[in-house]
């Protein structure tokens, strides 16, 4: 792996919870993202998985500075995004873009595709009027849409086409980093693969660093170089996609992997499922120590004492579980 292109250090996003009509008292804090550290190489694709409410989307938005971080740094190509002032941040926004979950909500219904793409292109660069048509056409073709449709409005497209338009808009500013927040979960299964393949192709062709957020491990399995698993605001395991999938280290990852259906009835019947009991704990009042211990079948008494740190398991993999070596020996 080459040197880090995106380096995230101890990133935290805490939301105050307030009560009261006139005098607002702070009654607690939701630690949506609580000390996330990882780094990505240029052109690398990271799959970020975890169940609903674990802070995946907040992490994505915090990296892109759409939500100001409470603590920590986000260094992209040597520049700390968390330390920029408003003006510099707006100038740098061309470097990192987001693709949203709902392609029905992420496009302005009153703008044609052409207007939306041209606006994005002109947001940071001066583009001569003579060139704009050519560039928009090139962009449309890049995401697999015919330039014939540029004068149409978002409601005239299908969900998959709209997501292609949203991808085109993100690409219009020529970013280096793209965070895709559940980009396919609002789409039909038949369309999901197309969009995933498109993202993978673009990432390869343009040396784009991509963070692909999903609650579904099977969705990120194919496209990711590495997979990070999140639970209640923290990353509990990170490693090469195939290894995380074949031999998960953290008990929570084991449960996630065993929830992925296998398209083979024979093997499906034979395998052992890890069924999680209980609901994810309230982020307002997380369990002490390892926040997964109340649901973990391997939990020991010491698990409730201290928050386990992410430790190197083997050169490529890290895991945050004090019993990781013990459980994964056999």
């Amino acid at each position: 792996m080459s040197e880090a292109f995106l380096q995230i250090e101890n990133l935290k996003t805490h939301f105050p919870v307030e009560r009261g009509m006139i005098i607002r008292r702070r009654i607690g804090t939701v630690k949506a993202v609580d000390g996330v550290t990882f780094s990505l190489a240029r052109g690398e694709i990271l799959g970020l998985v975890g169940e609903s409410g674990c802070g995946k989307s907040t992490l994505g938005r915090t990296i892109l500075q759409l939500i100001p971080p409470t603590e920590g740094t986000v260094v992209l190509a040597g520049k700390n995004l968390a330390g920029l002032n408003k003006h510099d941040l707006r100038e740098s926004r061309a470097d990192f873009q987001m693709i949203f979950q709902d392609p029905y909500a992420s496009l302005n219904p009153r703008m044609t595709v052409f207007d939306a793409l041209a606006e994005a292109m002109r947001a940071h660069r001066k583009i001569p009027a003579a060139e704009i048509n050519e560039r928009v056409a090139a962009l449309m073709q890049k995401v697999g849409l015919s330039p014939r449709f540029v004068k149409k409005y978002p409601h005239e497209f299908s969900g998959g086409q709209r997501q292609r338009i949203a991808i085109a808009r993100a690409l219009a500013v020529e970013p280096k980093l793209i965070i895709a927040d559940e980009p396919v979960s609002a789409l039909d299964v038949s369309i999901q693969a197309q969009i995933i393949n498109l993202l993978a192709k673009l990432s390869r062709e343009m040396q784009l660093t991509l963070v692909f957020i999903s609650h579904d491990l099977s969705v990120v399995k194919h496209i990711s170089d590495r997979i990070a698993v999140m639970y209640l605001g923290r990353i509990v395991e990170i490693g090469p996609a195939a290894q995380v999938f074949e031999q998960p280290l953290h008990p929570y990852t084991k449960a996630l992997v065993s929830a992925v259906p296998i398209p083979d009835p024979e093997r499906e019947k034979q395998r052992q499922r890890v069924i999680l009991t209980g609901d994810p704990p309230s982020p307002l009042d997380p369990p002490s120590g390892c926040s997964f211990h109340p649901r973990c079948s391997y939990a020991a008494t010491e698990c409730s004492r201290a928050v386990p740190a992410l430790e190197i398991f083997d050169p490529a993999r890290t895991v945050a579980c004090i019993r990781a070596r013990e459980i994964n020996q056999a």
């Binding site: 926004r93 994005a120 050519e134 056409a137 090139a138 409005y153």
Partner: protein, 293 residues
């Protein structure tokens, strides 16, 4: 190579506005309302120039006469031509309606958009002010104004506009608040677009629909208020007239000279109906829920 020619040949799409227009045109009542409004407006605006009479000129041979070839809508008890008076009254009534609505539109949209956009404590404070103003009894407020500043038609516009903006502010604030959470606004922020551009290109076009609908529904409300105030004697003063004062005068004499009540009342009702039909039609046409996805 990108095919630039295809862009030039791109077929234009159907904007939501055009879509709404097509749907509005299919709504018979709304079309009827629109056409009726245009005719009434033209009648009031152009009519007085074509009329043989002025609104204050008395015909001493024709006191309180029913409609005839000489005076199509009859004359009032002072011998003034009722048709000309209706034209002039319409100018005042429609004028009050439109001006006061514009006042309420300007204040309401700006105030509501600001509150919704800023959010937090500013928003809470701004909306509590609206709540307090809402609780103020309107009639008392107007009578106070009239007592302090005297009877004045401009004041009437201002007073009505100053009350009607409250609902508009609430509507716009709600719209802006829900828009702010929309992903396309987040996308615009993430593109690094300027605040100004986000408000002008992404926010305003998307709140215009409900605003347009509410505007067409505010005009009749305002006209009713004006009629109500005139009826109480707080509105337009003689010899000027509005439809409201004409209805009031007519109501006093309705047993002897019913046309003095019926004709202005018919004009007033027709206008209110038309505006409401048009407003309803606009609401249906612009409603996203009924439009195709």
């Amino acid at each position: 190579m990108p095919d630039v020619a295809e862009i030039d040949a791109a077929e234009p799409g159907a904007s939501l506005w055009r879509d709404a227009w097509l749907r509005l045109r299919k709504n018979r009542l709304a079309v009827f309302g629109g056409v009726a409004l245009i005719i009434i407006t033209l009648f009031c605006l152009v009519g007085p120039w074509l009329s043989r009479y002025t609104y204050e000129e008395q015909d001493f041979a024709q006191y309180a006469k029913p409609p005839s070839a000489l005076h199509w809508f009859g004359t009032d008890k002072l011998g003034r031509d009722q048709m000309t008076r209706i034209m002039h009254g319409g100018r005042i009534s429609l004028g009050v309606g439109i001006c006061a609505t514009l006042v309420s539109l300007t204040i309401g949209v700006l105030y509501g958009a600001l509150a919704g956009f800023l959010g937090g404590k500013t928003d809470a404070a701004m909306m509590r002010i609206v709540d307090i103003l809402y609780a103020l009894p309107f009639t008392v407020f107007v009578i106070l104004l009239m007592v302090v500043f005297g009877r004045n038609i401009v004041l009437l516009f201002v007073a009505i506009g100053a009350v009607e903006w409250l609902t508009m502010a609430r509507i716009v604030r709600g719209q802006v608040q829900s828009l702010r959470k929309q992903e396309f606004i987040e996308a615009a922020l993430s593109l690094g677009l300027s605040q100004r551009r986000i408000i002008l290109r992404h926010m305003i076009p998307n709140v215009l629909g409900p605003v347009a609908v509410y505007t067409t529904l505010t005009i009749p409300a305002v006209m009713l208020l004006e009629a109500f105030l005139s009826f109480l004697g707080l509105g337009v003063q003689p010899p000027m007239s509005s439809w409201g004062t004409m209805i009031k005068d007519g109501a006093e004499l309705m047993e002897e000279f019913p046309w003095l009540l019926m004709i202005p009342a018919a004009f007033f009702s027709l206008t209110l109906f038309s505006l409401n039909f048009l407003g309803d039609g606009l609401r249906d046409a612009l409603d996203v829920r009924t439009s195709k996805d």
